[in-house]
């Protein structure tokens, strides 16, 4: 989405010029932290969208995975990174549950993840009695609020995971298979791509990424909050869609997702600085999503009207003009 980068720059510049306190190191750190969380949330959704499905239970898996990690930090004697691993494993299990139902039985990803989101939320809230887990180790909390050379540790963590995911989707066979399945399920199966395996795998990956985002969110909050993720639905879809990931699947753009997340972060931060009511964030973010959908649709219509039928067909599947690569990172 070519307009994303200028939009981000313009918004950033506008806010910096009109709000004196916006252009400060402290605010940049806050922005990067917020951006990191938004991107982390979007990663899990982005990969599933690329496969042609979706994951409504992203927030619930995030809560469960985060809680599992916090619990491990408090009660097991494991080192911190293994506690992270516990959470990621829980996320993987939840994702596998989804992937099994979607892949094996061919059920709609929407309904399966809608149902499983209720189940996972129930488990998370029921096990904790809606009481947050407190007393987390200092090293964990430092991840959430600390900085590394002026840059929030959260941002560093998420940046690494972004690079990993981008490389995985672009350079591994499995990543390519996910995109092929999303692009044209029938053709991909004719070519020998195992639909069940790919769907299972991508939902597993989504679960792991969801848990990753959940753990990081709890680090930022400083406690094991069981009701996180309930508002992840819009954010997890908005950033990828704005960024150019096709809702129908087959194409994703990691850079686009990051820029889309950046736009959303700037909007929410801007609302705070301009001292508007907090609800304006909802309004503006909703508007941005709808506008992004409109713009993409306009691009499609224009390419059809200009007689560029091949572009229309190609865009309808991959959203790129012919000649460009399938995955742009």
């Amino acid at each position: 989405m070519i307009w994303l980068l200028p939009a981000n720059i313009v918004l950033f510049a506008a806010l910096s010029l009109t709000q004196p306190r916006f252009f400060s190191g402290l605010n940049f750190q806050a922005l990067l932290s917020s951006l990191a969380i938004t991107v982390a949330i979007s990663l899990g959704q982005m990969v599933v969208i690329a496969s042609g499905g979706m994951n409504i239970s992203l927030g619930s898996i995030g809560a469960l995975g985060g809680l599992a990690s916090c619990y491990a930090m408090l009660h097991s004697g494991l080192p911190l990174f293994l506690d992270f691993g516990v959470g990621l494993v829980v996320g993987a299990l939840c994702g596998t549950f989804n992937g099994f139902l979607v892949g094996q039985f061919g059920l709609s990803a929407f309904i399966v993840t809608l149902g499983s989101s209720g189940m996972f939320t129930a488990i998370a809230l029921g096990l904790t009695e809606v009481q947050p887990l407190e007393g987390l180790p200092g090293s964990f909390i430092r991840i959430g609020v600390g900085n590394l050379g002026g840059v929030p540790i959260l941002f560093v963590f998420v940046a690494c995971s972004v690079i990993l995911v981008a490389g995985f989707m672009r350079y591994t066979g499995f990543g390519r298979q996910v995109l092929a399945l999303g692009g044209n399920a029938g053709a991909s199966q004719l070519v020998g791509i195992r639909r069940r395996r790919v769907l299972m795998g991508v939902h597993l990956l989504s679960g792991v990424l969801a848990a990753w985002a959940g753990i990081l969110t709890m680090a930022q909050l400083g406690q094991g909050q069981p009701d996180i993720g309930s508002d992840w639905l819009l954010g997890s879809f908005a950033a990828p869609i704005i960024g150019g990931t096709l809702f129908a699947g087959g194409y994703l753009s990691v850079a686009g997702t990051c820029l889309g997340a950046g736009l959303l972060t700037l909007v929410s931060s801007g609302v705070v600085f301009v001292r508007l009511n907090a609800e304006w964030v909802l309004v503006l973010q909703g508007l941005v999503v709808v506008c992004a959908a409109v713009l993409e649709r306009a691009r499609l219509a224009r390419s059809l009207r200009a007689g560029r039928l091949h572009t229309y067909l190609r865009m309808g599947r991959t959203g790129r003009k012919p000649g460009r690569d399938l995955v742009r990172t």
């Binding site: 039985f105 309904i111 209720g118 129930a122 908005a238 009511n277 304006w280």
Partner: protein, 360 residues
């Protein structure tokens, strides 16, 4: 079916009688694969499976049986009335989503429209003090307009329903909270409270209203041209287009109708609860899908079952009240909902596969 000459097993002479008997046995075999000539047992099995509401009727009966034997107090007048009122609300919520499912789409803005309508109702009936009936009609109109807006974007703008309703949901919530200025409306107006407690033949008025709505929706989809056309659009956009059906108008109206019903559900819920609880509608997304899907409506559109949705709404209410009566933690209601939804989807799939195999 060829004569005896075509029979490869006829090596030599076969008596004509035997040949005819053999031929008729083959015909019998072929007929028994034809559902119309199936034996009684097969017919009964086919009949049961063909009922779309089987996916909800069985769990409902099981649940009621469990409650009957373990907690007969569930069937006290008070409890039955409360459950019936809640069922009425869930039915209308389910019908709202059904309206959009009929064209094969989904309305993620349903909770937002409901919450917004509830706020509009509270504002109109308490701050502005306009007549109750006008306030309710205005609320319904607001819901319909919200639905129409998303319908226009989806039908005429060609946008994806999921993304559009997701974005608009947040938009509506934000606008509503801004417009209400976080004003707090404790309690409800007199007439609304009376609506919540009134009953006819010891069934809450809310349930009666929901029943009327269900009948209206049923008649719309079953008997009116616009309803049948909407189902045709859901079954196949292209076929409907080539049949001179105004596809985009039907889509837009389906969304508008969904918004209208979402607002109606909100009115009933506020009346039932006797106070404005904005968190109420926000939990409706999952139930709004469970009721229709459980009842047998297809997510892909073209086929809806109002009876199934009514039973689904009833199941949801019985599940909710039943879990309270059984002393189960309320969180397990969410768990139950999720499980029930997955179960419903399974049953639906199995049904479709079975019926396809039977040639039905």
């Amino acid at each position: 079916m060829g004569g005896p000459e075509a029979d490869p097993r006829a090596t030599g002479q076969e008596s004509p009688t035997a040949a005819v008997a053999h031929e008729s046995r083959e015909e019998d075999a072929a007929l028994s694969r034809d559902p119309r000539h199936a034996g009684t047992a097969t017919w009964a099995r086919d009949f049961v499976v063909r009922q779309e509401a089987i996916g909800v009727a069985v769990p409902l009966m099981v649940l009621l049986a469990v409650l009957w034997f373990t907690r007969p107090g569930f069937f006290s007048t008070f409890s039955v009335e409360a459950t019936a009122a809640q069922a009425g609300i869930y039915v209308v919520v389910g019908l709202s989503q059904l309206s959009v499912l009929s064209i094969g789409q989904m309305n993620l803005a349903l909770p937002a429209i409901s919450v917004s309508s509830a706020m509009v109702l509270a504002y109109l009936s308490q701050s502005v003090k306009i007549p109750f009936v006008i306030a309710v009609l205005a609320t319904l109109l607001v819901g319909a307009i919200m639905g129409a807006l998303q319908g226009i974007l989806v039908a005429y703008g060609g946008l994806n329903a999921f993304i559009t309703t997701l974005g608009l949901a947040n938009l509506y919530m934000g606008v509503m909270f801004l417009a209400s200025g976080s004003a707090f409306y404790p309690g409800v107006s007199g007439e609304l409270a009376r609506l919540g407690t009134a009953e006819m033949l010891s069934i809450p008025l809310i349930t009666w209203i929901a029943a009327i709505v269900a009948v209206a929706v049923f008649v719309t989809f079953q008997r009116t041209v616009s309803g049948r056309e909407t189902l045709a659009v859901g079954a196949s956009n292209r076929a409907a287009l080539f049949s001179a059906i105004p596809v985009r108008r039907r889509m837009m109206l389906a969304h508008a109708f969904s918004g209208l019903l979402a607002a109606a559900a909100a009115v009933l819920a506020v009346a039932n609860l006797a106070e404005l609880d904005t968190s109420l509608g926000q939990q409706w997304l999952l139930p709004s899908f469970v009721a229709p899907v459980l009842g047998g409506s297809l997510l892909t559109g073209g086929r809806v079952t109002v009876v199934g949705t009514v039973l689904g709404g009833l199941l949801l209410a019985v599940l909710q009240s039943g879990l309270v009566v059984l002393g189960v933690n309320q969180y397990w209601y969410q768990m139950g909902l999720g499980l029930v939804l997955l179960f419903a989807i399974f049953i639906g799939q199995a049904r479709v596969r079975y019926l396809m195999g039977r040639g039905g």
